[in-house]
């Protein structure tokens, strides 16, 4: 069974359908709605939407929790999580964590941009948390190969506090020069 959800206007309709169905749903069924935006094969339908396939379970869960509590704000996601319980969120997180990270075929950054990213890493220590090769672990997200435009948007959102659910990342992004963010996103997307 595949629900039809159009990206722009259909979300709420599609969610209403979820809420209305009386049958208990399996995690696969609960995950169907996600594909409308995060992609049926893990490749998001919009450049500014993140990859969630193969992302770490703990991180996925915390983000769903934060969307639900309002600590992280996004109109699309707020609607998605409204009726999810903690167990639902944990199960969805486990479900997507087990999937394989998709290859978005993003180009590796030119040397000059990689050099900027390395300099940023020396001064801020990104890999102290995001770990070697920016693979993340547990509650720290994988950045390597994430959608380019989403990476750039999230770094800017941390900086401006539009994304305020991690003051630590906000402080680190404030300590990073605005001009370094674009090369950083190029580097991470192609890493």
């Amino acid at each position: 069974m595949r629900r039809k959800c159009s990206i722009l206007s259909g979300t709420l309709l599609c969610l209403a359908a979820v809420a209305a169905s009386a049958q208990p749903q399996t995690v696969e069924q609960k995950a169907e709605v996600c594909a409308a935006c995060h992609g049926a094969k893990g490749i998001p339908v919009d450049k500014t939407y993140p990859v969630i396939w193969g992302q770490h379970q703990g991180y996925l869960y915390l983000e769903l929790r934060d969307f639900k509590s309002g600590a992280r704000k996004n109109d699309l996601m707020t609607a998605v999580v409204a009726d999810l319980s903690r167990d639902d969120m944990m199960a969805l997180a486990a479900y997507f964590a087990k999937k394989t990270w998709p290859d978005l075929r993003q180009k590796s950054a030119p040397d000059a941009e990689a050099a900027v990213a390395n300099r940023v890493n020396v001064s801020i220590g990104c890999t102290g948390c995001h770990l070697g090769q920016y693979q993340g672990d547990a509650t720290v997200p994988r950045l390597a190969g994430q959608q380019h435009d989403y990476l750039l948007k999230s770094m800017r959102d941390f900086r401006s506090r539009a994304r305020a659910n991690n003051p630590g990342m906000t402080d680190l992004m404030k300590a990073t020069a605005e001009a370094d963010l674009a090369p950083e996103a190029d580097f991470l997307a192609g890493h």
Binding site: S69, A97, I124, G125, G128, D137, A138, G168, D171
Partner: protein, 573 residues
Amino acid sequence: MLMPDMPVLRRLAVMASVAAAGLFNIGSALADETKPATLYGDMSSVTQDMLDRAGQNGNDFLLTNGNYSQQRFYPNAQINRGNVARLRPAWIFQTDLMESMETSPIIVNGIMYVTTSFDHVYALDARTGEELWHYQQKLGPITTYCCGPNNRGVAVYGDAVYLATLDSKLVALDAKTGKVKWSSDIADPEAGYSETMAPTAVDGKILVGTNGGEYGIRGFVKAFDAKDGHVIWTFYTIPEKNLGVWAEKDATGRDLHRDIATEKANAPQATELYKRLGGGVWQNPSVDLATRRVYFSVGNPSPDLDGAARPGDNLYTDSLVSVDLDTGKYICHFQYVPHDVWDLDAVSPTVLVDAMDNDGKVVPAVMEGGKTGHVYVNRRSDCGLIRFSEAMVPQENMWTLPTAAGARMLPGANGGVEWSPMATDPSLGLVYAINLHQPMTYTVTSAPYPNGKLWLGGAFAVIPTEAQWGNITAVDYNTGKIRWQVKTPEPMIGGILATAGGLVFTGEGNGRFAAYDSANGSRLWQFQAGAGVNAPPSSYNVDGKQYIAVAAGGNVQLNYKRGNAIIAFTLPE
């Protein structure tokens, strides 16, 4: 968690185990022979009597810091000033994981127990480095740790090996097989709790503190029953009444520049403060068996740099605390830095010695190496300060308050002395500490508590244009004077061991592991380990040969080159 998600690391691990099998396991042909007896015969079970006498035992290394006093003084002189120049590797064991290592090897009757990042435990034949078993904790989905996926080692007691994990569990393993006997929850990782310390086993209890001062936790030390893992007592390092005495000065008498009027005005609203005021306990407590008291150091308040939301002295953060071993009841405390807004806290483990008080009387004392760069010497009876040492690293602009733009102050937020345990040589009256010199700026920003996520209230940033370095410092604890100092090219983190051979052993981020004359600091031997040696060394004796063992795995926090080696050194035949 790690292995399925990280193909790169897995490949490295496979390579490493191939290398270990092919090249490095010198002497593995001996593996099938029976093991000759050592001092304790064939006892592989650890009794309380053995632990009580660990400090006089020149065969085993039974407690994280050598003995319950945590002196890290090893009573075996076979390797000594006269022959250390000939020390060479006996074997190298490579773990499955190329990541930061902070483990203190524990050795029981020829069996060595070591841990790695992400909570792997290995039992090794201490003569050969041959692997006897390997345990990997299946970490839950949520782990919250600020400073690397580290683990500092196990505790041994009875027939079990105890591990505290990143997802905040205490696990008892069968010492012979590595199979899980039981597992208990210590605290909720979603609320910011995690474990990297080695537990301490004493009298049927397993004592463990908690990380989380960077996450808005309520710190504690808990005692678990060694048999079944139930909680016997919990001491919260943050009491409900934590305002204190509105101290204007730190332990050394320097002005903290607090705005006490504003703090007092904010205090009535701060009734829930204790639930998220931090106060992690990162390292093992010392145990005074005569008085049945334990002593430990308590870390920073949360959030680290922003004091606005936490009026008062923030008891018992940045403090020495003593509690009753049997009940966990408070006995006394001494706060080194009231209302800390620099994270210049107390993390290095406490050390018990007998020291001269200010009337020239020798009294039971307890020492702590502060991130401030001072060694503090306190009375064990009432926790009161006897003296503090000369500063071991440059101090500048103390205590300048953090600003929105960033204010420079020395030492940087890693110290001074980080979590690295100190060593002592009671016959010389010296305590040895390894230090960092990292000029930093301290920046403050206010943000509400982000629910179990990193909460620093600002940032510490290394000033890239200023030189960083480290040192090894020997302090006379009866006077507080520095006896000798050796400068190292990089900030030091890991640990140090003193031996009856008149030596101290310690390692550096650049891979150098070296022995120094404990009386004057002259370097007598060195070895290049190929990866950062940022873990405390241990020593042991099997078949009449003394060994020095240390991990070379590098360090996440200071980004020192990663490795995966446990190296055991001995003298040639």
